[in-house]
């Protein structure tokens, strides 16, 4: 695969983009990172993702793949000889897909409401967020990672959101660790891995980014 041309269209603070960076790092794939301006979208982004005009987009030998979890599955299938993300048993694979989908449905949506809403709506989002993290803690059980002994599909789907926890906590005025110490312990364990620490952004920088977005959207 030495002649592969791989480019990632991304935005540095995006947890969805971080999923792809982590997946590529786990497989040891060399790629070109291309930071995108989402306010003035460039021709390349519009050409590669005409339907949604969003990041991340993986461009592999000129062909674009969109939607972060679809990209992660694609990476797993193309670079299949190393670090498989999904288990080999179909039932276990279904469970992994279910929980990654759960992260998309719950963690992202509730998290977003924590930094965009106020008052009762924000409180409801905080509760939903914590309840969802607790369900994930239950699913993790005693395993070091959702993937078992190694990082897998659900870990890749979830752990980038850790970089947004500091922003959620500061804006929402609550402590995620106080409610879900096991999950935070899990995130810390993941961050000890070089592939994770080099793929994830600094939570303080993400917080500054979110503060900027709130000002821009006139939230406060």
């Amino acid at each position: 695969m030495a002649s592969d041309q791989v480019t990632l269209l991304d935005l540095w603070a995006s947890p969805f983009g971080m999923r792809v960076r982590l997946a590529l790092a786990e497989k040891g794939v060399k790629y070109e990172y291309s930071e995108q301006d989402l306010v003035n979208k460039g021709a390349l982004l519009l050409q590669m993702n005409p339907v949604h005009k969003k990041i991340p987009v993986l461009v592999h030998n000129g062909k674009p793949v969109c939607e972060s979890l679809i990209i992660v599955q694609y990476i797993d299938e193309v670079w299949k000889d190393k670090a498989p993300f999904l288990p080999s048993d179909p039932y276990q694979r279904a469970q992994s897909r279910f929980w990654a989908d759960f992260v998309d449905k719950k963690i992202y949506d509730f998290g977003r409401k924590i930094w965009t809403e106020k008052g009762e709506d924000q409180e409801a989002a905080k509760k939903g967020f914590i309840d969802s993290l607790k369900l994930l803690e239950g699913e993790l059980g005693d395993k070091p990672y959702f993937g078992g002994e190694t990082i897998g599909y659900v870990d890749i789907a979830l752990v980038p959101f850790y970089t947004w926890f500091y922003a959620y906590e500061t804006i929402g005025n609550f402590s995620i660790e106080a409610e879900c110490p096991k999950l935070i312990g899990y995130c810390m364990r993941c961050l000890k891995k070089e592939t994770v620490s080099k793929s994830l952004e600094d939570p303080k920088k993400v917080y500054d980014f979110v503060v900027m977005l709130r000002k821009k959207f006139g939230i406060e």
Partner: protein, 202 residues
């Protein structure tokens, strides 16, 4: 071969997706209708996270979320493949399946709207379906090419279900004049043996 059970809700297109997939794979299964206003112990046991249908139970192992179930069926019964083998083509199929998840919001707004909101919802649904027709379906007979695959299955609600809603609302969105290829696709889908006769009573 372990027993296969499907907990479903007959008015829901999500349940029909699973029925079509199982039929296309020739899998014997027992169908159990759920009363969603009075959920059974089994449903709550098998889908504690969402407490929704459809749920597939294979042996005694439950799988929830229709798109997750479809991928499970595809992997467990590989005969008559419903996804491309090539990773890039598979990613494209999954992309269009995912696009349908976003289309559901537009469908729901159309179903629930009235007056001005209905008009707006109809326009948005039309725009959404235009992209699907132009870039997803193109000139193919089915999303899967000559025969239906998981993408066609995931859009099943655009056939009989949308037609029923259009009749109730008195507003047509999917017509030969507005969406000729997608309209033809819906007609072809409705003629397939696995689909025909599944939606009587709507």
């Amino acid at each position: 071969m372990a027993e296969v059970k499907l907990y479903g809700f007959w008015p829901s297109p999500y349940s029909h997706r699973i029925i079509w997939a199982l039929k296309l794979k020739g899998v014997e299964y027992e169908y159990i209708e759920e009363d969603l206003s009075n959920k059974s112990e089994s449903l709550l046991k098998y889908n504690p996270v969402y407490k929704k249908t459809p749920v597939l139970v294979h042996g005694d192992k439950p799988i929830a979320e229709s798109l997750v179930i479809l991928e499970y069926i595809e992997e467990t019964w590989p005969e008559n493949p419903l996804l491309p083998k090539d990773p890039y083509e598979r990613a494209m199929a999954r992309f269009w399946i995912q696009y349908g998840v976003d289309t559901v919001a537009a469908l729901r707004a159309f179903y629930q709207g009235s007056g001005e909101e209905l008009e707006k919802a109809a326009t948005e649904l039309l725009e959404s379906l235009k992209i699907l027709e132009e870039q997803g379906l193109g000139d193919k007979r089915f999303f899967g090419g000559e025969s239906m695959n998981l993408v066609d299955i995931s859009y099943g609600a655009l056939g009989y279900w949308l037609a029923a809603v259009e009749e109730v609302k008195g507003v047509k969105v999917l017509e030969p004049s507005t969406l000729p290829r997608l309209h033809a696709w819906a007609k072809n889908l409705d003629e397939l043996p696995v689909v025909k006769g599944k939606h009587s009573g709507l």
